[in-house]
């Protein structure tokens, strides 16, 4: 067998395992990495010492540090406190409660890990909906979808964004400039969809009301909250200016992890035990696999099929790529989609002379939002569904496809036209 045949088989097996979810995604990534390294070294594609460079250690370290900082802030009860405080101040009723919940899901996932966001949001939503006997399923699922949208806010907000940002040197300012308007547009579109489609199917929604006694009850220790919030805010600023300081984002992040562990008053052991370790493991192993595919020539082969679609027109390329990343992300984990598509996009742009920048943005946006097309496509949605089911509100595949997936499709289309508009305006 030739290297390209062998690696094509590894690629096929990996995709089948990811799509069918027979094994945990970390096991799949480990399997793909182990096979790839064995054959890569045996065929002489690279030396065993090269594997450490293929792991993309900078991205992996930054992910670990960000997860630690997110979890530290979450442990203080900050997010629950903030949402309760806003509900108390605004005294909203009916549909406005839902709109605020959607806005919170978007905002929180912009500054926290989206699984953490969904745990908090599902808990708050169920506590508001259940006493009034209002069906919370569509709302909880829509919060999962909005959590994907919020992941566009900063490079640290989602793993796909973070991977593209660290590898292609896309700064946090650029994320804010390009994604903030889009997030507001998508929030508006989703609210309109909820108002005119979902709200009509739930008559009791107008009875929703939030009664908050004391928001501070969500906070265990005010001093720990203040210190953690300060360190976290400095971390965000530090990441924004990391290139001006001459340090890598991962170094800056670990600097603030050290500060957090030393001065926040939180227990490092407890924080470390709550981290989603599967994320850095998956990224490290999958990076080795993708790099091996690249060296074996498989990605060039896949790229040759995608090239006519993407390079047909400088304007339509990003449009098509956004849809491709979106649809792929609804079937396999969006991290794998980005890791696979990134070298393909680089190859296509170098062959066709296309500006790769709009293509990177298409990938970031498409992979973040597209996961919501199916119930099993994105972690926040899946998390929301499983948490709701635990409380007796089962979100079936059919219900999701009927009520929520059209909204995600709408979001993808709006994002596509947004990218097109930025290209026409010369922003991208």
């Amino acid at each position: 067998m030739t290297p390209i045949e062998t690696f094509s088989l590894i690629f096929l097996a990996t995709i089948l395992l990811l799509v069918s979810e027979i094994e945990h995604k970390v096991v799949v990534a480990l399997l793909a990495a182990v096979f790839s390294v064995y054959f890569g070294v045996s065929y002489g594609l690279y030396e065993i010492e090269d594997v450490y460079h293929m792991m993309d250690i900078e991205t992996v370290l930054f992910i670990v540090a960000s997860l630690i900082l997110f979890e530290s802030l979450n442990e203080t009860g900050f997010f629950k406190f903030l949402s309760l405080l806003v509900f108390k101040k605004l005294r909203l009723k009916g549909l406005f409660v839902v709109y605020l919940l959607l806005a919170f899901a978007t905002l929180f996932s912009g500054i926290a890990e989206n699984t953490i966001t969904m745990i908090i949001m599902t808990e708050i939503t169920l506590s508001i909906f259940t006493p009034r006997k209002v069906d919370p399923r569509a709302t909880v699922a829509m919060e999962g979808v909005m959590s994907n949208v919020g992941g566009l806010l900063l490079p640290i907000s989602s793993i796909p964004g973070l991977i593209v940002a660290t590898r292609k040197n896309i700064g946090a300012e650029e994320f804010l400039v390009i994604d903030t308007p889009l997030i507001f547009i998508l929030l508006g579109v989703t609210i309109l969809y909820y108002r005119f489609v979902l709200a009509k199917q739930e008559a009791r929604i107008e009875e929703l009301q939030v009664i908050v006694d004391d928001p501070w009850k969500a906070v265990e220790n005010k001093s720990v909250l203040a210190r953690s919030l300060l360190i976290f805010s400095l971390f965000i600023v530090g990441v924004l200016v990391s290139d001006k300081l001459g340090f890598t984002p991962s170094y800056v992040a670990f600097f603030f992890v050290t500060l957090m562990f030393m001065f926040s008053g939180e227990n490092p052991r407890r924080i470390l035990s709550k981290i989603s370790w599967d994320v850095p493991f998956f990224v490290a192993c999958f990076s080795i696999f993708v790099e091996s595919l690249d060296r074996a020539g498989v990605l060039a082969l896949v790229g040759s099929y995608l090239e006519p679609l993407i390079s047909a027109s400088a304007f339509l390329g990003p449009f098509v790529l956004l849809l491709i990343s979106g649809v792929f992300s609804s079937v396999i984990a969006n991290v794998s989609v980005v890791l696979l598509l990134l070298p393909i996009v680089d190859r296509i742009s170098s062959i066709s002379g296309l500006n790769p920048h709009p293509l990177y943005w298409s990938m970031i946006i498409g992979s973040n939002i597209g996961g919501g097309l199916t119930l099993y496509g994105s972690v926040p949605v899946l998390m929301a569904a499983s948490l709701a089911e635990k409380e007796g509100h089962k979100i079936s595949f059919g219900l999701y496809a009927k009520k929520v997936a059209p909204a995600v499709f709408l979001q993808l289309l709006v994002s596509d036209f947004y990218i097109l508009l930025l290209e026409i305006l010369g922003v991208l």
């Binding site: 062998t6 096929l12 089948l16 799509v19 069918s20 054959f39």
Partner: protein, 111 residues
């Protein structure tokens, strides 16, 4: 007489290798089938059973290639042949499993 003796030894070796390899392959398949039956007891997960079967077939091809790429030359030809027969035996039964699952799935869809 000499040729005939060599041929007999060769044939005996072939039959022995074939039997050992087939037995090994069947034993491995029994383990795989037990695992499949445990995970995919319900009919609703038949498509997953089929995908799992296909993935195992790919793994067999990769496992054979992994050995082939490391051991080359006539010295290891016998070993490679043994591995080939063993893997083919496992693959044969997995293909049968896939075909049976496909037929069950088809029957279920018609019903």
């Amino acid at each position: 007489m000499m040729v005939s003796s060599n041929f007999t030894v060769g044939a005996w070796l072939f039959v022995m290798i074939f039997c050992v390899a087939f037995d090994l392959g069947f034993t491995v398949y029994k383990y795989v089938k037990k695992r499949f039956d445990e995970i995919y007891s319900a009919e609703s997960v038949l498509p997953k059973r089929i995908i799992h079967g296909v993935v195992y077939l790919i793994f067999l091809v990769l496992a054979y290639e992994a050995i082939r790429v490391r051991v080359e030359g006539e010295l290891f030809a016998g070993l490679l042949f043994l591995v080939y027969i063993a893997f083919s035996a496992v693959a044969f039964f997995i293909v049968v499993d896939i075909v049976v699952s496909l037929r069950k799935l088809r029957r279920k869809r018609i019903a």
